[in-house]
């Protein structure tokens, strides 16, 4: 990873390893009982239930998986992980799918990936996330002039309490956590 100044966070390389083999390994003992689906607070909004998603992972249906909204809707409540009778790390497997989708630059996951990347860019620069800066980076990355309006009601509420400080992004060059971010990138073969 280079540390040259940049105004928007970089996109993940499309070519990076997108194999689902590790994730298949994580859920290989799945017995398709559906306890995960029954425990999931967001199953109602998913196009495939968690149980169906694990079956797709076991069958290696990469295209179907990456078209599905299911893993992006995991809010990491860990109810499925707690209750899975096979003790599978299902919430971690959902996170691993998010990582794989970000690496593969999957179109349906692009807005979420940009959201997370903007957040981490603010962390790299300052060590801590600056809420208003990270949202500005996200708006810039999304290139949608109407998007900020969606967040205006909450922003105004927080501003009214003096909790939101409007600040333009700063420190695009050397960041507080460059050493950590660069080393991770190097070990993951991204540098």
């Amino acid at each position: 990873m280079k540390t040259s100044p940049r105004s928007t966070p970089p996109e993940a390389p499309a070519s990076a390893h997108t194999s689902l083999t590790d994730i298949r390994e994580m859920v290989s003992a799945c017995i398709q009982c559906g306890t995960c689906t029954g425990s999931c607070p967001n199953a109602h909004a998913m196009d495939h239930t968690p149980r169906q998603l694990w079956r797709m992972v076991l069958m290696g249906e990469q295209d179907l998986i990456f078209k599905s909204k299911t893993f992006a809707l995991c809010s990491a409540c860990y109810a499925c992980s707690l209750r899975c009778p096979r003790g599978l790390p299902l919430t971690e497997a959902m996170a691993a799918l998010k990582q794989a989708a970000a690496r593969a630059n999957v179109p349906a996951f692009r807005p979420s990936a940009r959201f997370y990347r903007s957040f981490l860019e603010s962390v790299r620069r300052h060590g801590r996330v600056r809420e208003s800066e990270f949202m500005t980076l996200y708006f810039l990355a999304m290139k949608n002039p109407l998007l900020p309006l969606k967040f205006a009601p909450l922003g105004l509420k927080l501003m009214g309490k003096g909790k939101l400080h409007v600040a333009l992004p700063t420190g695009a060059g050397r960041g507080a956590l460059d050493a950590i971010f660069d080393k991770v990138a190097e070990l993951e073969g991204r540098s």
């Binding site: 809010s75 990491a76 600056r130 080393k183």
Partner: protein
């Protein structure tokens, strides 16, 4: 009782009243807290969605600093998401020695080293286990008589690691609420998910979860929370949730140390009560009575 204290990013901004009330309450109860030096973001839910290693390295850096400071063995964390990210590293390196070596390769780039000696504790764990309802009752000067409180635990201080409470049917807040002189609202929603960052990323999904929780809280005077994400989701979207549910779901939402702090006589400004987004006139009247 000495603790290292990790506020986390939210407590510096949108949850400043959680920071203020946690410090005030803990100190008043005799706990000695020292803020972790040069701490960094735990990665929240963003690092985990991008890189497995970064999601572990960010919290690991804080643990390494805590070891280096060496003031206390316990790292006290009020935010449930930070708590889980930090805790996850300590749980994983105990089971995977290779991971500890991998993390140390990353940390050495920043001049740090991790051995795994720090214990990560949630604020609620410290208040319920170390301080305890008994000591709290002895300190109460302004009992919260006539108030009914709905204890809301959320997810990540309970799951996946069972540390200090039942991850399905948590109860550690109840004795504390009763010791403060209030009654506990009977409900089954204490461990239900608030939708976390989905309320921002996919509001049409998140609002259903928020509305369910607020609906079940009807009849209580306030909801008590122990996480800035839960607090924000339950307090900031009440009008939207009310439109979604077709009924008025307005209710006061306070951080647990704000509530308990009131009972031991701390002032509203010491507890940052002016920063809450949802404090109803009904609750204010009962507090003034």
């Amino acid at each position: 009782m000495k603790y290292l204290y990790y506020p986390g990013c939210s407590l510096e901004a949108s949850a400043s009243e959680y920071d203020r009330s946690s410090r005030a309450f803990l100190t008043a109860m005799g706990a000695e807290i020292t803020e972790l030096a040069d701490w960094n973001c735990c990665g929240a839910s963003a690092a985990e969605a991008q890189s497995r290693l970064l999601a572990l390295a960010l919290p690991a850096r804080n643990l390494a600093i805590a070891e280096k400071m060496g003031i206390a063995r316990d790292l006290l964390v009020p935010c449930s998401a930070c708590y889980l990210n930090l805790r996850k590293v300590t749980e994983k390196i105990r089971r995977e020695p290779d991971l500890l070596a991998e993390l140390n390769t990353v940390l050495s780039a920043d001049g740090l080293q991790l051995s795994g000696g720090v214990r990560v504790r949630h604020l609620l764990d410290v208040v319920a286990t170390d301080l305890g309802a008994h000591a709290l009752r002895a300190r109460v000067t302004r009992p919260l008589k006539g108030l009914t409180i709905a204890p809301y635990y959320g997810c990540q201080c309970l799951r996946p690691y069972k540390v200090f409470d039942d991850p399905e049917a948590p109860q550690t807040m109840s004795p504390l609420i009763e010791a403060a002189g209030a009654a506990v609202h009977p409900w089954q929603m204490g461990a239900r998910c608030c939708s976390a960052s989905l309320m921002t990323a996919k509001p049409e999904v998140g609002i259903a979860l928020v509305a369910d929780i607020l609906t079940a809280a009807r009849g209580a005077d306030a909801i008590a929370t122990v996480c800035p994400m839960c607090q924000m989701n339950l307090e900031a979207f009440q009008a939207k949730a009310s439109r979604f549910a077709g009924e008025n779901l307005a209710i006061s939402v306070l951080y647990l140390p704000q509530l308990l702090g009131l009972a031991i006589g701390l002032s509203e400004s010491e507890l940052g009560l002016g920063f809450n987004l949802a404090l109803t006139a009904g609750l204010r009247n009962k507090l003034a009575a």
